[in-house]
């Protein structure tokens, strides 16, 4: 089971892009095996600070270990998968 948390700022363009890309990626590569939590830094700045998030959109892969973070719109799917440590072939 993949657990993600996406830090966004309201419905800003890049955040929405990131959310859209993440959703698509999950559906394609890990259907029914993922959870996405969305966190709006404008609404919960303290939480973002605690999590050490300095930019939005930022994606954090919480599970499985190791934890990884990626900043950006997540439009480069292969790079994202690599960064997340998910080999397309393994999935």
């Amino acid at each position: 089971m993949f657990r993600f948390r996406l830090y966004v700022a309201d419905e800003t363009y890049n955040s929405m892009q990131a959310l859209a890309n993440l959703t698509a990626l999950c559906r394609e590569h890990m259907a029914n095996r993922h959870e996405i939590e969305i966190l709006d830094v404008l609404l919960e700045p303290k939480r973002a600070l605690a999590d050490g998030i300095f930019m939005t959109p930022t994606l954090v892969k919480l599970a499985p270990h190791p934890v990884r973070r990626i900043v950006g719109t997540l439009s480069q799917t292969q790079l994202v998968l690599q960064a997340l440590g998910i080999e397309a072939s393994n999935v």
Binding site: V8, A9, D10, E11, T12, Y13, N14, S15, Q17, A18, V41, L42, P45, K46, A48, L49, I53, F54, M55, T56, P57, V71, G72, T73, S75
Partner: protein, 1278 residues
């Protein structure tokens, strides 16, 4: 920010400018670093900075979203500032400005909406001002919101708008939002609801149903609407006073159910009838609904009661019509297949009751002839109703059809309807209908060919059932039935005619075929029943002179009594008024179509016929040449059966039968006369030939039966003292039994009144052509009747003047003896009497004319007469006949040398021999001095003739005729002629036989056929046989001898004698060609005997000559061994000389012995006992024999040549031969090998210890002389 701490404005501005520059640069840099993919960044404290681009996006997106939402709303929305100026509007506002009176097209951004409203001058200025004031009060903060619904009708539709004003935040508010919503749809719904409610109210006020509300237990009526009074015709008050009084009015039939339902406590719906005070009946539909309290208990019943009478009536009409339709369609269905009137009537009534639901239905039919209306079918009528109806209908009969409704319907040819049977003064049997719950009825006329033929009556339970619609349909229905009746009538007519046609055509075909009168009568009656389906048929023979009618035949009638009546009842043709009597008297067909009706005719026969269910009768006379000779009477079970066409057809038929009778009569006359003639000619021959009275009488009876075709013939002798007639000769059916019956001639006894008695007393012929008609019936007549005899004649026989006795003849046909016949028979009786007279006077009849005095055989003329007779039966039997003319060879020599008396004696011997051989003296005749003739009446196969000839000639030749202690052997020559090939009459045949005989003499043949071809064919068949016989006679057979040699010594030890035929024409014939024929013809016995004798003779000859005669083996045929005389034959042969047995060996084939081992052993044993050796020939060809070998009395075993050949080809063959030899030796049997041809074979056989051999190696079979010279002479015996 505080001023104290602030730098100088210029510096500050510069610094600010620098900072801003730095901010821009850093932000740009950040954008570059994140590739523009980041929206926010946070500082170390967690403060989030929205990047400028993102900020812009967020802002734009917020405003865009809001604008989009507003624009998407259907309501017209505007934002006003506190002054009422329009700051912004949504798309709906813009779009629909022109449709809203309060929102003119110029009502756009920057306009003051308040002013617009204040200045409004359209259809609704008041509302506009109200709006402006409302907005103002909101803007002032006086009210939290304001709304107003207002109409705004366009030219095409009515519309309503709801305006709402909401303040923007602030105090006083910073503006207001104005919204107009189109609420037309809501307003319209409301409006329609209002209208419908008003209508409902109106309806409820005018409704004519009864509304009621009562306590649940019915104890109190809480409310009842006014309609109750109109429907029930009772006061509402009465109901309040007595809440159950509503049910008092209910029809008694419906009341219990209605009350029960109403009290059931639940929701109910029911229908019932009420009877109103004025007697009228209404149909009510009542519905009830329970009303519950809070606890769920039923406290009230609310309900509606409705008058549904009209509806009900309409329903009933439909139901009635439906019933009629059902009936109509049922009956129409029926019409398609119905074939008989009765079926139509019955089914129509049944359908009326079952399908049409009528209470009763019946059909009456008019018998116009008898002025009667008869009930023909009914359904649903009880016994009383039936009786009443029949009585009523019978009243209508005899009088002009006019009284009853049925009669009126028929007479007026229109339907008579009575719709109210009960309580109707015009209806006489009101109670009758009431009892049967019948309220209306209809009589429908049935009309065929525009004439009322009947009526269909229907009775309905319902009052006023038959109205216009029903009447129309039922009239149509009656029309359909009428049509069917007409159709059936035609069909019946056709069926009846076709029955009669079938009958007549069958009879016509019979007429062609049938040759006998009685058979014709029987068949006509049978066919009348079978094809014509008449109830009874009866044929009588009429004697137009005596006016007597004799029943010839009749079919089994429906009753036995009727049959008896037909048989016995006399018909008074002279005066009778009966049908048959009239027909016979007038010679014309007479019809009675209603046997039961005519009271004038009182006849037993008619009464029986009626009793047996017969209704119509036709009597058809048979008329030949103007004379009535009989009648055919046909009874039908149907009334009025014989109509014009039927009578015409049947009259034709009677004419045809008459024609046939005439024809049969003529044929019979011819046949009978020729029979009588044949009878007479035979009797005459008999008279000449018969030696004594008994022979004469017996033969006379036999001839009467055989040639005269009388079934029974007997002759009785009268004892003049006792007057008893005792049968002394008889022939025919049951003759033996009848011969025991004596007759009496005593006039004082009833028995003396019989035919015999009467004939004796009257001294005259007595005949009876209708034995079955009655009169004295003794046991003989009873028996004769049982046997089917119908005619009898008794002829007195005279001895000089005195009565000797009687001759009685019986015939099966009734009316057999007619004038011509009787004349001939009387003549014949006279001849018999003459012969009797002669016998009595002991005068030998001079029968020289017919017989050869010397031999007693027939002479030429008698022989020819007989041959003629045989020829007749040969023709009818379809077989040939052979006539032989026999010449006694060298008879003249005997006559000359021994003298005439010896010659005559010899002729008598020959005649006796011929008679014995022919088996019957009648077949042989003496035609001349030494000429005899014989006839073979039946030749089954031509071969038979030749065989007979051979047999006869041979037997004759072999027969020793002993005359004066001497034995003479005579020979015959025969000429043969065959009938029909060689001559059509006896004379020609005899002449041709003479010719054949002459030729045979000339050629020296023993016999010859007249036709050369026949001789050739038969000769061909018999030639080999003949040649073999001749070979035997001419000593053409010879014996050849094959030597047998001892294998060890090489010396001759024996010889096998083999028969050869030395045919002078062809030379030596191989044994295979003639031995089988010898066996087939039995010549083998003679030839076998000859061979035996010859072999012994040769042996004895050699022995006598001092030669070393070897034992001679002679082959025995299987036939010989089986022949009982064989042993004797051998004995005879060896008895010639004591040496003979020693010189003889018999060779018998193995297979022959095996055929009957037991007999073989006995025979062989007895032969062996004579000292004769026995050899088994062809040993090995029957394998089973080895085991029997020990039991057989044999001396020698001859191994078949095939084993000798096989012996050389393989070890098995060798082993077999070796085994045979060893086995034989162990049984002390000598072994001879046959067919040895090579040295090798002989060497091998020697090695196997075989004793002897024969074969080409040593010598083939050779003639006696050669054998003698070659093998005997060189080695003298010693």
């Amino acid at each position: 920010m505080t001023l104290a701490e602030s730098p100088s404005p210029v510096d500050a501005i510069d610094e600010i400018a620098t900072l801003i520059e730095a901010l821009h640069v850093s932000e740009r840099r950040l954008e570059e670093l994140t590739g523009g993919e980041v929206d926010t960044v946070a500082d170390r404290t967690g403060r989030t900075f929205l990047l400028r681009r993102a900020q812009e996006q967020v802002r734009l997106s917020e405003a865009g979203k809001q604008a989009a939402i507003l624009n998407a709303l259907p309501a017209h929305i505007a934002l006003l500032d506190p002054r009422g100026v329009i700051l912004s509007v949504n798309q709906a506002w813009r779009r629909f400005g022109d449709t809203n009176a309060l929102q003119s097209p110029d009502c756009a951004i920057s306009m003051n909406y308040l002013e617009v409203c204040d200045l409004a001058s359209g259809d609704y200025p008041a509302e506009a001002r109200q709006v402006a004031n409302g907005i103002r009060s909101v803007l002032r903060g006086d009210v939290k919101n304001f709304s107003l619904e207002y109409p705004c009708h366009s030219a095409t539709e009515q519309r309503w708008f709801l305006m709402a004003v909401t303040p923007l935040p602030g105090n006083p508010p910073t503006g207001a939002v104005v919204m107009h919503v189109n609420v037309t749809a809501e307003r319209q719904t409301e409006e329609s609801l209002r209208v419908s409610e008003s209508r409902f109210r109106q309806m409820a006020e005018h409704i004519q149903d009864v509304f009621f509300l009562c306590e649940a237990d019915g104890s109190r009526m809480l409310y009842v609407s006014q309609a109750y009074e109109e429907i029930w015709l009772r006061r509402c008050e009465s109901l309040y006073a007595n809440p159950q009084s509503w049910s008092d009015a209910i029809h008694p039939d419906d009341r219990p159910a209605a009350q029960e339902k109403a009290m059931s406590g639940g929701k109910f719906k029911q229908e019932f009838r009420i009877v109103r005070p004025d007697g009228s009946i209404r149909w009510i539909e009542s519905k009830g609904y329970p009303v519950h309290d809070d606890a769920g208990r039923i406290v009230r019943i609310a309900g509606i009661a409705k008058d549904i009478t009209a509806h009900k009536l309409a329903q009933d009409r439909i139901a009635y019509l439906n019933r009629v339709y059902v009936m109509l369609s049922g009956i129409n269905g029926l019409l398609v297949h119905v074939r008989s009137r009765d079926e139509l009537y019955n089914d129509a009534c049944r359908i009326a009751v079952e399908g049409g639901g009528f209470r009763m239905a019946w059909i009456a039919s008019v018998d116009r002839k008898r002025m009667k209306i008869e009930l023909v079918a009914s359904v649903g009528l009880d016994a009383t109703a039936m009786t009443a109806l029949k009585a009523r209908l019978s009243l209508s009969g005899g009088t002009p059809l006019g009284r009853s409704r049925a009669a009126r319907a028929i007479a007026e040819k229109k339907a008579i309807v009575t719709n109210h049977l009960i309580g109707n003064p015009d209806v006489s049997l009101g109670h009758f209908y009431e009892e049967r719950n019948i309220h209306s009825m209809i009589m429908l006329p049935l009309i065929v060919a525009n004439e009322g033929v009947g009526t269909l009556a229907l009775y309905a339970r319902e009052d006023e059932f038959f109205r216009e619609e029903e009447l129309k349909l039922l009239t149509e229905l009656a029309g359909d039935i009428s049509f069917a009746l007409e159709h059936i009538g035609k069909e019946e007519k056709i069926a009846r005619l076709s029955r009669i046609t079938a009958f007549t055509s069958e009879i016509n075909s019979l007429i062609v075929r049938i040759r006998g009168r009685q058979e014709l009568f029987d068949e006509v009656c049978r066919v009348a029943i079978e094809h014509g389906r008449f109830g009874t048929a009866w044929i009588g023979i009429f004697d137009s002179v005596t006016l007597a009618v004799t029943s010839a035949t009749w079919t089994d009638g429906p009753t036995k009594r009727l049959v008896m009546t037909l048989d016995n009842e006399q018909t008074d043709v002279a005066n009778g008024s009966g049908v048959v009597a009239r027909a016979l008297r007038t010679g014309r067909p007479v019809v009675e179509n209603d046997l039961a009706s005519d009271p004038l005719v009182k006849s037993v026969r008619r009464a029986e016929a009626v009793g047996a269910g017969l209704r119509s009768l036709i009597a058809l006379p048979f008329v030949i040449e103007g004379l009535v000779v009989g009648h055919l009477s046909l009874y039908s079970t149907e009334l009025d059966f014989f109509d014009g066409s039927e009578v015409r057809l049947l009259t034709e038929l009677a004419a045809n039968i008459s024609f046939a009778l005439d024809h049969i009569g003529k044929e019979e006359k011819i046949a009978r006369l020729s029979r009588i003639r044949a009878f007479m000619s035979n009797i005459n021959t008999l008279i000449v030939r018969a030696d004594n009275r008994n022979e004469l009488f017996e033969e006379a009876c036999r001839v009467a039966v055989e040639h005269g075709k009388f079934g029974i013939a007997w002759i009785g002798a009268l004892d003049h003292e006792t007057l008893i007639v005792t049968p002394i000769a008889w022939a025919g059916d049951e003759a033996e039994a009848l011969s025991k019956v004596k007759s009496s001639a005593r006039e004082d006894l009833p028995a003396g009144k019989g035919a015999v008695g009467r004939a004796i007393h009257a001294r005259h012929v007595v005949f009876n052509n209708g034995l079955h008609a009655g009169g004295y019936q003794g046991p003989r007549l009873t028996k004769a009747l049982q046997l089917g005899y119908r005619s009898q004649i008794t002829l007195p026989l005279f001895n000089g003047e005195a009565i000797f006795g009687t001759l009685s003849l019986y015939a099966r046909e009734s009316g057999f003896f007619n004038e011509d016949e009787i004349k001939l028979l009387v003549e014949l009786a006279g001849d018999l009497s003459f012969a009797l007279d002669r016998f009595d006077k002991k005068e030998k009849l001079d029968y020289l004319a017919y017989y050869d005095v010397l031999t007693g055989l027939s002479n030429r003329s008698l022989f020819l007469e007989r041959v003629t007779q045989y020829m007749q039966s040969a023709v009818s039997g379809g077989h040939p006949l052979a006539l032989f003319l026999i010449d006694l060879e060298r008879f003249r020599n005997i006559n000359d040398s021994l003298g005439r008396p010896a010659g005559d004696a010899m002729l008598k011997l020959v005649a006796a021999w011929l008679v014995r051989n022919a088996g019957d003296a009648k077949l042989v005749a003496r035609l001349g001095a030494d000429h005899f003739a014989a006839v073979m009446p039946v030749v089954q196969q031509e071969g038979d003739v030749a065989r007979l000839l051979e047999k006869t000639v041979t037997a004759f030749l072999g027969h020793p005729f002993r005359l004066e202690d001497s034995v003479y052997r005579l020979a015959l020559k025969i000429g043969v002629a065959l009938f029909p090939d060689d001559g059509a009459d006896a004379d020609t045949l005899l002449r041709n036989a003479e010719a054949a005989l002459k030729r045979a003499k000339a050629r020296g043949e023993r016999y010859l056929f007249y036709t050369q071809k026949m001789t050739d064919t038969l000769a061909g068949k018999l030639s080999l046989e003949n040649q073999l016989r001749q070979a035997l006679d001419n000593e053409e057979f010879v014996l050849h001898y094959q030597p047998k040699v001892n294998l060890a010594s090489g010396k001759l030890v024996g010889a096998e004698a083999l028969i050869r035929w030395n045919d002078p024409r062809t030379g030596l014939v191989p044994p295979g060609r003639f031995i089988p024929i010898l066996e087939e013809t039995g010549l083998i016995y003679e030839v076998g005997r000859w061979a035996l004798r010859k072999a012994i003779a040769d042996y004895l000859h050699w022995h006598a000559a001092g030669l070393p005669a070897p034992r001679i083996a002679v082959n025995m045929s299987p036939l010989q061994l089986r022949n009982r005389g064989f042993i004797d034959d051998i004995k005879q042969v060896i008895d010639i000389d004591t040496q003979a047995a020693a010189g003889l060996e018999l060779e018998i084939t193995e297979s022959l012995i095996m055929e009957d081992v037991k007999h073989s052993i006995t025979s062989l044993q007895s032969i062996r006992d004579m000292g004769i050796c026995i050899a088994i020939d062809d040993f090995g060809t029957g394998f089973s024999s080895l085991s029997y070998l020990s039991k057989l009395p044999v001396d020698v075993l001859k191994i078949d040549r095939s084993f000798v050949v096989d012996m050389m080809t393989g070890p098995e063959g060798l082993a077999l031969v070796s085994t045979i030899i060893n086995l034989a030796h162990s049984l002390k049997i000598k072994v001879v090998a046959e067919g040895v041809e090579t040295e090798e074979q002989s060497r091998l056989l020697r090695l196997l210890s075989c004793d002897e051999f024969q074969g080409f190696l040593f010598s083939k079979p050779v003639p006696r002389e050669t054998f003698e010279a070659r093998f005997l002479a060189s080695t003298p015996a010693g």
